[in-house]
C-alpha cells in the first residue's frame, strides 16, 4: 500500500498542479479579454479621430493629414490603417495602406462595428461605421490595426503568468512535502517510542502526541499490554505445565527403578515413559517457540554475553570439563531475539557439540549483508549429509550410544524459525566435525570484517 508520506506528497503535488492550471486558465481568459477590450477601445478612439478629421477637413485628403499626426499612418504596412470611402466612389486612405485597401464585406451600419479580417500585411482587427458629414454626404470610415501587436502583448502576459505560476507550483509542491514531514513526524516518533517502550515495558504517554494521533497511541498501549499479558501467560502456563508433568514423571521413573531393582522387567514401561518425556519436552519447546513468535517484543540481545554465560556453564560441567571450548565472538553484535531464547538455541547446539566432540568446540560469529551468522563447530564425527534432515526432526536420534534425547537441534531449529532465523547443518571445514550455522536477520547490523573486528579466541 502507498505510504502515508508518498500519499501526502503526491496528493499535495496534484492539488498544487491543478490549482496552477485552473489559475493559469482563468487568468489567461481575464487578460485576453482585458487586452482585447483595451485594443478595441484604442481602435474606437482612432476611428473617432478619423471621423472628426474627415468632418473638419470637409473630406479633403491633404487637410486631413494635418488633423491626423500619428506617424504610424504614414509608414507603409506599419500595421495601423484608416480608410474613408465617399458617396461617389471617393477613397481616402492612410499612406500606410500603400497600394492596397481594406476590404468591405456586407452592409456597413451607422452603428460602430468591430470586425476582423485580412489586412495588407496579415490579419487585422478594425472598426467601421457609416457616418454622415455636415454637408449631408455619407462616408464609410474604417480604422484597422494589425493583430500582431495584440498577439505579442498576449504572449508577453502569458509568459509572465507562466513564470509566476511555475514558481507558485514549485512552492506548492515544496510546501506539500514540508507539510508532510511535519504531519508524519508524530508517527515517526510513535514508531520509535513503541520500539523503545517494548524494552521498558511501560506505556506511551498519549499527551505527547497530537490529538489526532493520541487515540491511536492509547490503542497501541492497550495492544502492547494485551500482548505482554498473552506472552507472559503463555510462558507461565508452559512453566506450570512443565512442573505439573515433569514431577509426576520423575516419580513414575523412580518407582520403575525400584521395581527394576526387585528384578521386575520394566524395560517397556521405561521406554514408554522415555518417549512421553521426550514428547513432553518437544511440546513444551514448541509452546515456547510459538509464544516467542507471538511476542511483539523484539529485544536485542548481545551475542557475546550469551555465549560467554553458556561457556562458563559448559566449562564447569563435570562431564564436559575435559573439552576445550573456543569462543571468538565480537563484543558488539546483537540479535533481535529474547535473551532466554537465544541461550536456549545456543545451549542446545553447544550441548550437542560438546557431547560429540573429541576435544574441541568452537563458537565464532560474523555479520554479512544484515544477517548475523553464529557458527558452532566441533571436531567430532559430524553428521553425513543424508542424515542431516533427520537430525532436525523431533527426537531424531542418530546414535543412541551417546546420552541425550536427540531433541536439542530440533528445539533450537523451532525457536530460530519463530524469530525468522534458520539453522544449517554442514561439515566443519576447520575442525572436521559438525558445523551448525545459525542465521539471524538483523537490519541494524553492519558488516564486520572477517578478521579485523573479531577478538582473539578465548578458551
Amino acid at each position: 500500500m502507498l505510504s502515508l508520506r508518498r500519499r501526502a506528497i503526491v496528493g499535495g503535488s496534484v492539488w498544487a498542479i491543478l490549482s496552477v492550471i485552473i489559475g493559469v486558465v482563468a487568468l489567461y481568459s481575464f487578460f485576453d479579454a482585458l487586452t482585447q477590450r483595451r485594443f478595441d477601445q484604442a481602435l474606437a478612439e482612432r476611428h473617432l479621430q478619423i471621423v472628426i478629421a474627415l468632418s473638419n477637413s470637409g473630406a479633403d485628403a491633404e487637410l486631413m493629414t494635418q488633423f491626423i499626426n500619428d506617424p504610424a499612418y504614414d509608414r507603409p504596412y506599419s500595421g495601423r490603417y484608416w480608410q474613408a470611402s465617399g458617396p461617389e466612389g471617393e477613397l481616402l486612405a492612410s499612406r500606410s495602406l500603400f497600394d492596397s485597401m481594406l476590404e468591405l464585406s456586407g452592409e456597413v451600419l451607422t452603428e460602430r462595428e468591430f470586425w476582423t479580417g485580412a489586412g495588407p500585411n496579415g490579419s487585422v482587427r478594425g472598426v467601421r461605421q457609416a457616418v454622415t458629414l455636415e454637408d449631408g454626404s455619407s462616408w464609410v470610415v474604417l480604422v484597422a490595426e494589425s493583430l500582431a501587436a495584440l498577439i505579442a502583448e498576449r504572449a508577453a502576459i502569458r509568459r509572465s503568468l507562466l513564470l509566476t505560476f511555475g514558481l507558485v507550483g514549485v512552492l506548492g509542491v515544496a510546501g506539500a512535502m514540508l507539510q508532510t514531514l511535519v504531519v508524519v513526524r508524530p508517527l515517526k516518533k510513535l514508531r520509535e517510542d513503541v520500539s523503545h517502550r517494548w524494552d521498558l515495558e511501560t506505556d506511551i504517554d498519549p499527551t505527547n502526541y497530537p490529538e489526532e494521533v493520541a487515540p491511536l497511541v492509547a490503542d497501541i498501549n492497550t495492544l502492547l499490554e494485551r500482548n505482554r499479558e498473552i506472552v507472559a501467560r503463555g510462558r507461565r502456563q508452559a512453566a506450570d505445565m512443565a512442573h505439573a508433568l515433569k514431577t509426576p514423571s520423575a516419580i513414575l521413573r523412580n518407582e520403575l527403578e525400584t521395581l527394576k531393582r526387585k528384578d521386575v522387567d520394566v524395560s517397556q514401561a521405561q521406554d514408554a515413559l522415555g518417549r512421553i518425556d521426550a514428547q513432553l519436552r518437544r511440546s513444551l519447546a514448541r509452546i515456547r517457540a510459538a509464544n516467542s513468535g507471538a511476542s511483539m517484543q523484539r529485544r536485542h540481545t548481545n551475542v557475546a554475553r550469551s555465549v560467554e554465560r553458556l561457556a562458563k556453564l559448559f566449562r564447569g560441567l563435570p562431564d564436559l570439563r575435559s573439552k576445550e571450548l573456543e569462543v571468538a565472538v565480537p563484543s558488539n553484535v546483537t540479535v533481535p531475539i529474547d535473551g532466554q531464547d537465544l541461550e536456549e538455541v545456543l545451549g542446545n547446539i553447544l550441548e550437542n557439540a560438546s557431547r560429540w566432540s573429541r576435544s574441541l568446540v568452537s563458537v565464532t560469529c560474523r555479520i554479512m549483508n544484515g544477517v548475523v551468522e553464529i557458527l558452532i563447530e566441533d571436531d567430532g564425527p559430524g553428521i553425513p549429509e543424508s542424515d542431516r534432515h533427520e537430525a532436525l526432526r523431533s527426537g531424531g536420534r542418530l546414535d543412541t550410544s551417546v546420552p541425550g534425547t536427540g531433541l536439542g537441534l530440533a528445539i533450537a531449529d523451532d525457536l530460530l524459525h519463530a524469530y525468522g532465523g534458520e539453522m544449517k547443518l554442514q561439515k566443519s571445514d576447520r575442525l572436521g566435525g559438525l558445523g551448525v550455522s545459525i542465521l539471524i536477520p538483523n537490519k541494524l547490523a553492519s558488516d564486520l570484517r572477517a578478521d579485523g573486528d573479531l577478538p582473539q579466541a578465548q578458551s
Binding site: K246, T247, A250, I251, G339
Partner: protein, 219 residues
C-alpha cells in the same frame, strides 16, 4: 552424611530420601521455601538438594541468601525448569550442580556422591584400610572380600568419618551429621555405634581421642 531435600512434592521427596538413606545418608526434608531457608542456614548439612519452584519462597533467592550468609554447603538444584538460561542463573546464584526433572535416580545418587566426595577432597569412592574396604557409593563394607553387615546408623557414622579421614571429629559434630533434624540426638549413643564398628571392623580402625572425639587415620 546429612542431606537436606527441599522439594514440595512429598512423594518425590520420599523416593529420594529412601534411596539416599539406603546409601547411609541421613536426610531432612523441607516442603516449602521458608522451612528450607531456615534449615539450610542453621543446620550443618553436608549437601542440599534444592528445588527452584518451592512454595512461599523460590529456590534461587534462598540459595543467594545462603551464599550471602557464607553458608558454603554444596547445593544441587533439582528442578522442572530445564532452560539453559535458568541453568546458568542457578549456577551463578551459587549452585554446584544442576539437574532437571524428570531424572534418573541412579544419576542423582551418583551426582550426590560426587559432590560429597568433592567436598571432602576424595577422588576415589572406594576407601581401603588394611583388610577393610568401604564402598562410599553403596555403603557396603567388605573384609577380605567377604561382606560385613552394618546398620544404617553404623554406615552413617563410618561414612562421615571416612569423608573426614585424618581429621578429629567430635561426638557433637558426628551427631549433627548422622541424626535427622527432629531425631533424638543423644551423643552417648555415638559411643555405642563406634564400639560396635570397632567390633566389626577391628579395634584400630577408628581411634578414640579421649574427651575430644574420633578419627580414622590416613592409610
Amino acid at each position: 552424611m546429612r542431606i537436606l531435600i527441599a522439594e514440595d512434592e512429598t512423594v518425590l521427596c520420599e523416593q529420594i530420601r529412601r534411596v539416599l538413606a539406603s546409601e547411609g545418608r541421613v536426610v531432612d526434608v523441607a516442603n516449602d521455601g521458608e522451612e528450607a531457608a531456615f534449615l539450610g542456614a542453621t543446620e550443618p548439612y553436608d549437601m542440599i538438594i534444592l528445588d527452584i519452584g518451592l512454595p512461599k519462597r523460590d529456590g534461587i533467592s534462598i540459595l543467594k541468601e545462603w551464599r550471602n550468609q557464607n553458608v558454603d554447603t554444596p547445593v544441587l538444584i533439582l528442578t522442572a525448569r530445564d532452560g539453559w538460561s535458568e541453568r546458568v542463573d542457578g549456577l551463578d546464584a551459587g549452585a554446584d550442580d544442576y539437574m532437571t526433572k524428570p531424572f534418573h535416580m541412579p544419576e542423582l545418587s551418583a551426582r550426590v556422591r560426587a559432590m560429597l566426595r568433592r567436598k571432602s577432597g576424595r577422588a576415589n569412592p572406594l576407601f581401603q584400610k588394611g583388610k577393610i574396604e568401604f564402598d562410599l557409593r553403596n555403603g557396603r563394607v567388605m573384609e577380605n572380600g567377604f561382606p560385613i553387615d552394618l546398620t544404617s546408623q553404623e554406615i552413617a557414622v563410618l561414612t562421615y568419618l571416612v569423608h573426614n579421614t585424618g581429621r578429629l571429629v567430635s561426638r557433637t559434630e558426628l551427631s549433627e551429621h548422622i541424626y535427622e533434624y527432629d531425631g533424638d540426638r543423644d551423643s552417648n549413643t555415638i559411643a555405642v555405634f563406634v564400639t560396635r564398628l570397632r567390633k566389626k571392623l577391628g579395634t584400630d580402625f577408628i581411634r578414640t581421642v579421649r574427651g575430644r572425639g574420633y578419627v580414622i587415620e590416613e592409610t
